[in-house]
């Protein structure tokens, strides 16, 4: 099998395997060859060849045994996976892209990793990201920045930079990510792939390096909505190891649906091509019989301040455990951004500032949640831009943290409210950089978002394209 012939969806991959057009081992050969050829992208921190071939051998045996209901029992059979290097992988180095964990070998795997492997998935490697998931560009990695596969001068977005770049460039079929303030949706948007941020509490965080515990959501990237849905269905649900996860009834799509367009997401500072592409996407839904209506989320403008108080506060607490004693290196090895966030979080929680910053932010957070609840009384989903601009250039925002933080403005509100979001690609701008939009829904409405996403793909006759590397 040639590097250029790797199938682009789960169903094509599994059809090829079951019809014996190629073996899982040949598939792994092709992926590893392609990863090696695309080293300049810096999408992976660690590639695990031995483990990948071992798993491919198991998959090939399953197929030659001709088991009945093989795809029902192994829904990710033969799927090449990149795991964000925040996900613990037993026996495989896990760094969180930080020097603090440079040589850390976990003794257990995250629930999501274990479930994907049990479902027949093949772990190809650990993808690059902003260290500790702190960033919106991938540039805060202690292992060097990942490049945007569509144009190496541009960032792939962050923090799940390597996962998005890997899926976009065909270096894995799907990839995992975490979304605390936009870290799946924004890089999906910058790289032109589908990215799902599930409802807070839908997927277990067990075994994933914690960033901000009231906001962290565990999701995935794929080249199609159907693939992100398959991975979500494999990974979701209680595991007895994360008490915020509950098995619950999901909201089902209605026969006649309504989408809201929030006016606060089309303000000054939003790139013209971005705004136009989102409106164009809304017209696709309208043509398909979905009613559009303008809605208002009045506290959107305060979301950034709330987010950059709550999130660093929780970061400062979660990164307190890295003492260099039980595992990892001393705290001096934290990079500049981790230190900034620890400092910021410690400051807003410190005596004399707690009420003015943290408590106030948590009250405004309640009002942001109320905004969404009011809107979801009227509509099934909200359609909005993911980021005010397409991918920006490497180095453009690194000297100014505040400017970098503002890149999260349209993604962080969903994390503060704990609601799901699905980022979809919708084409390219004049410079050839990906454009897209996000759909947000009420808690546990993932089936509604998948249905709408698939409708969009169908109506636009969406074709997966790969960048020329």
């Amino acid at each position: 099998m040639k590097n250029t012939n790797i199938p682009l969806t789960i169903s094509e991959t599994q059809e090829g395997l079951l019809k014996k057009r190629f073996s899982a081992t040949e598939l792994v050969d092709a992926y590893l060859g392609k990863i090696n050829k695309a080293k300049d992208l810096n999408a992976y921190i660690t590639v695990c060849e031995d483990e990948a071939y071992k798993k491919a051998g198991e998959v090939d045996r399953l197929i030659s045994d001709n088991l009945p209901f093989i795809l029902e029992n192994f829904p990710l059979l033969g799927v090449g996976i990149g795991h964000k290097d925040l996900f613990l992988t037993k026996g495989i180095r896990t760094t969180a892209a930080s020097k603090v964990l440079e040589g850390f070998i976990p003794v257990y795997s995250a629930t999501v990793v274990a479930r994907m492997e049990k479902a027949g998935g093949i772990t190809l490697g650990k993808t690059n990201c902003d260290a500790w998931a702190h960033g919106a560009s991938g540039e805060n990695s202690d292992f060097g920045p990942t490049k945007n596969p569509w144009d190496g001068k541009f960032v792939p977005g962050g923090s799940s930079s390597g996962s998005a770049a890997s899926v976009a460039a065909g270096l894995s079929l799907v990839a995992t990510g975490t979304d605390t303030g936009g870290s799946i949706r924004q890089p999906a948007n910058f790289c032109g792939v589908v990215g799902l941020k599930p409802t807070y509490g839908a997927v277990s965080r067990y075994g994933i390096v914690a960033m901000a515990s009231s906001l962290d959501s565990v999701g995935n990237f794929g080249k199609s909505v159907a693939d992100t849905e398959t991975v979500f269905n494999v990974t979701r649900g209680e595991d007895g190891r994360d008490s915020t996860v509950k098995n619950t009834e999901f909201v089902k799509p209605r026969a006649k649906m309504k989408i809201g367009i929030p006016k606060e997401y089309f303000v000054e500072g939003v790139d013209k091509e971005v705004a136009e592409s989102v409106i164009a996407a809304s017209k696709v839904f309208e043509k398909a019989g979905i009613e559009l209506t303008q809605v208002s989320l009045p506290h959107t403008k305060y979301a950034m301040s709330v987010y950059y108080i709550v999130q660093p506060a929780e970061v400062s607490s979660n990164l307190g455990r890295y003492d260099g004693i039980r595992y990892g290196n001393p705290r001096a090895d934290f990079g500049a951004e981790a230190k900034r966030r620890i400092m910021l979080g410690t400051y807003v929680l410190s005596a004399g500032y707690y009420d003015a910053f943290y408590l106030k932010a948590q009250k405004v957070r309640s009002m942001l949640i109320k905004d969404f609840e009011d809107v979801f009384d009227k509509v099934d989903a909200v359609l909005a831009p993911v980021s005010p601009t397409p991918a920006f250039e490497l180095g453009e925002k690194t000297a100014n943290p505040l400017k970098m933080y503002l890149a999260d403005i349209f993604t962080a509100p969903a994390n503060l409210a704990g609601i799901p979001g699905l980022a979809l690609p919708s084409g390219f701008n004049k410079e050839g950089l990906p454009l897209g939009f996000q759909l947000l829904g009420p808690r546990f409405s993932e089936p509604v978002l998948f249905e709408l996403g698939k409708l969009y793909e169908k109506e636009t006759d969406y074709k997966i394209v790969l960048p020329n590397l």
């Binding site: 509490g201 400051y347 807003v348």
Partner: protein, 103 residues
């Protein structure tokens, strides 16, 4: 305009157990000031009687049975495998008490 002083930054660094270099203090002081200054926009919001949010699940008191589950525990060897500063199965740490009087 919020202006953090060098003393503020050193105090917070001490609370967070971070040793900052002079270069880092120089760099972080204005950066943190500008971010904190941005937060002042929150004072415009009349939060009325809004309750603070601490979590979004609505779940309360999730319990498990009070018994040891071996599948969910690490062996001692696994638990200490991340450090090379081990003595007799324990982590070696710096002494936190000084001036023993018993010898």
């Amino acid at each position: 305009m919020v202006k953090l002083t060098k003393q503020d930054v050193l105090h917070v660094a001490k609370l967070a157990k971070l040793d900052l270099t002079d270069f880092e203090i120089e760099k972080f002081t204005p950066q943190l000031s500008s971010v904190i200054d941005h937060f002042s926009e929150l004072s415009e919001v009349d939060t009325g009687d809004a309750e603070p949010t601490s979590q979004t699940t609505g779940l309360e008191n999730v319990y498990r049975e009070d018994k040891v589950n071996i599948d969910q525990s690490l062996s001692q060897d696994d638990a200490i495998s991340g450090s090379d500063k081990i003595h007799n199965g324990y982590f070696k740490v710096k002494a936190i008490l000084e001036g023993r009087t018993d010898k």
